[in-house]
């Protein structure tokens, strides 16, 4: 997170992480399509000829809180292929929140697990703990054959901490829900850590309403958040993280 006191501008970095071909870029494309043109910049993609992300994708979003604070969201994806380890480590640097995009197919279970451990390792290289990081998990590609049953995911998710969402990013299903869930955790965690409410009149709830509206959803934020199939939506507080 960066704070520009002069222009009253807050910049937040969000990273979409996950194994190769799990749909990270597709999530960004769907967000970009949903976003109001006034809030969204151009989606910057750096792809190779075979549509694999080379370095990262970047979607810049801009919002304004009722209190006059300008909030910039920089949403990145990492390249999922194993060989781009160095690039992933660089992109994840300074992240304020992470959406982990998993591939729902049973055959990809091991790749999901490997990528999650890779994330943990890369955060550690920057002196960050996964434990302290706002994270949501999205099980993408629900429309594919051979996916893990929803009941199984829900059962495991209920035991885990991260909110878990189901998605078909190619159809835009579950994309906004995952994003709003991630923002909810990230805004709350940043507010708690930096006391943004006191210093800037930062209102996480109002901002979330604003973002949801600019992403074209009519639903109340409360309903969007409840789309998660498990995990906890409680915001991590610094003191809670220590215990």
């Amino acid at each position: 997170m960066q704070l520009d006191f002069v222009n009253r501008e807050l910049t937040i970095k969000l990273v979409y992480y996950g194994p190769a071909l799990s749909g990270k870029t597709t999530n960004l494309v769907a967000l970009h399509q949903a976003a109001d043109p006034g809030s969204s910049g151009r989606l910057m993609t750096l792809e190779t000829r075979d549509d694999r992300t080379l370095f990262f994708d970047l979607l810049p979003l801009r919002f304004r809180t009722p209190g006059g604070l300008s909030v910039r969201l920089k949403v990145f994806t990492v390249p999922g292929q194993v060989i781009h380890a160095a690039t992933r480590r660089l992109v994840v640097q300074g992240a304020d929140g992470i959406a982990f995009i998993a591939d729902s197919r049973i055959s990809e279970t091991q790749h999901n697990a490997d990528s999650f451990l890779d994330l943990k390792h890369n955060l550690k290289e920057h002196g960050l703990l996964l434990h302290d990081m706002p994270v949501v998990i999205q099980f993408n590609k629900r429309d594919m054959p051979g996916v893990r049953p929803e009941a199984e995911i829900a059962e495991l998710a209920a035991r885990g901490r991260e909110p878990v969402y189901l998605a078909v990013a190619t159809q835009g299903v579950g994309v906004i829900e995952s994003f709003i869930g991630l923002l909810h955790l990230t805004f709350g965690s940043l507010d708690a850590a930096h006391d943004l409410g006191q210093k800037f009149g930062f209102d996480a709830g109002a901002l979330l309403e604003e973002v949801a509206e600019k992403l074209g959803t009519q639903q109340p934020v409360r309903d969007i958040l409840s789309a998660c199939v498990g995990g906890a939506l409680d915001v991590l507080r610094p003191e809670a993280a220590e215990s």
Partner: protein
């Protein structure tokens, strides 16, 4: 260790227009607007500096610029125009004292102001002639002349200027986007390469540390072996010495059985001593502490000496030993003592594994050898010339060594068939010492089949030792 902070740096700073776009190209872009629509336009950076322009000073402004009051007023207006920073969705219009118009448009990228486009001065088509203001300010001006010059100003409708401005803004936004993307890509590329390099460096460092540790362990092992061997040899010498004295009757006569027992003690003591000497030799050779006393020597003499040494043993085992030494062999650059040791070892071995009535032969001839590891490597034509070498072939017609075992017999303590060792005796170190001695001479040792049965040990020694080989 954490990764370099390159990416944070490239994300944070919104780049300046002048850093992203090539200035000459900007000039060309504005020039095309001028030639298409006839509207003069200049581009200023966010700090107010002129970055590019496509506008010639009109005759009217050149003339008025020389007039004190009017020139001053015009300069004042231009300075004001440069300060204008309109809302990105709107534009700002300023009328000059001449009646000509300036228009200012702000350029934005990703919500950040990047600079300003200033159009003008141009005359609106619906306005006839210069403004009255001008003559109020300077009544002495030549009306007809000024009107004539005014007519030469570019005449552009406001709507045209606005649509050119929109077009240029969008074009700039696109150019900035693609340039920004290129900048991020190249920065990221650089950072990734640097990060990979850092990672590799760290791995290399760890490997080097591990290697140093292993080298140290190896040195300790050799030291240990040398020390222990030395400490074992001292009491063993006494055991052998005293049992020898007992056998020779220096402590009184022994009964037949006593003599037999003491002889066994002595024989086994000798075996143990040979083993310890072998170990010492091997550890010296392995640690590179064994130095060779190289000289130009007659190989045939060494062979004769070896044969003379083994003859009694061979006769006892009823094995014939024959030699075939090529005439006129040149001298070879080698350590005579070590050459004798390795040949003796091979011939001794051959006799040991040949059945009574069999034959062991030793053949010496001049040949040439390829330097090793030259296949497919660079500069073979320069470095790979064959060198003159001397070949020793020690052949037996014993049980032979299976092809799969041939590399292993040179490892310490390796025995093809452990039952035969028990039968034949031996330390299991001989061949590994032979291999190291040959290699220390820059040579090679290998095993071939003997026809119809048995084994040939082939030793190739270069005539001249060189570190290249």
């Amino acid at each position: 260790m954490t990764a370099p902070a390159v990416l944070t740096a490239i994300e944070d700073v919104c780049p300046r227009l002048e850093d992203l776009v090539h200035r000459d190209a900007l000039g060309e872009l504005l020039g095309s607007a001028l030639s298409l629509f006839g509207v003069p336009v200049r581009l200023y950076g966010q700090d107010g500096r002129l970055l590019a322009g496509a506008a010639d000073e009109s005759e009217l402004y050149a003339t008025l610029g020389e007039h004190r009051r009017v020139g001053e007023r015009i300069r004042q207006i231009v300075a004001d125009v440069k300060q204008l920073d309109p809302d990105p969705r709107a534009d700002a219009r300023r009328e000059c004292v001449t009646g000509a118009v300036y228009r200012v448009v702000r350029l934005e990228y990703d919500g950040h102001p990047m600079g300003r486009l200033i159009f003008g001065p141009y005359a609106s088509p619906e306005v006839d002639g210069p403004s009255e203001q001008l003559f109020e300010l300077a009544p002495e001006l030549d009306r007809a002349r000024i009107a004539e010059l005014y007519e030469k100003l570019p005449r552009v409708a406001d709507e045209v200027v606005l649509s050119v401005a929109r077009h240029l803004s969008r074009t700039f936004e696109l150019i900035l986007f693609s340039e920004h993307r290129a900048l991020l890509t190249s920065n990221m590329h650089l950072a990734s390469v640097r990060e990979s390099f850092r990672e590799l460096e760290e791995k290399t460092r760890k490997l080097e540390e591990a290697n140093a540790r292993l080298t140290e362990l190896d040195r300790l092992k050799s030291n240990f072996l040398a020390t222990v061997s030395h400490e074992l040899r001292t009491p063993l010498t006494s055991i052998i010495g005293y049992s020898e004295m007992l056998v020779e009757g220096l402590a009184g006569d022994l009964t037949g059985e006593q003599r037999e027992f003491v002889s066994t003690i002595r024989e086994k003591g000798d075996q143990l001593l040979a083993l310890i000497k072998g170990l010492l030799d091997l550890s010296k050779l392995e640690s590179g502490m064994a130095s060779l006393a190289r000289d130009y020597i007659q190989a045939d003499r060494v062979v004769e000496d070896v044969l003379a040494t083994v003859q009694p043993h061979a006769r006892k085992r009823q094995v014939a030993v024959v030699e075939r030494i090529e005439a006129g062999l040149p001298r070879v650059h080698a350590d005579a003592g070590r050459l004798r040791q390795l040949l003796l070892n091979l011939v001794d071995n051959a006799i040991k594994f040949t059945n009574p009535g069999g034959c062991v032969s030793i053949e010496v001839r001049l040949t040439s050898m390829d330097p090793e590891k030259m296949h497919g490597s660079q500069g073979v034509v320069l470095l790979g010339s064959r060198r003159a070498a001397i070949e020793f072939r020690v052949a037996d017609d014993g049980i032979g060594i299976p092809a799969a075992e041939r590399d292993k017999v040179f490892e310490p303590f390796y025995q093809v068939d452990s039952s035969s060792t028990r039968e034949q005796g031996g330390t299991g170190l001989g061949l590994s010492i032979v291999k190291r001695l040959v290699e220390a001479h820059g040579g090679r040792v290998s095993i071939e089949d003997n026809v119809p049965r048995g084994t040939v040990f082939v030793v190739l020694l270069p005539l001249r030792f060189s570190s290249l080989g």
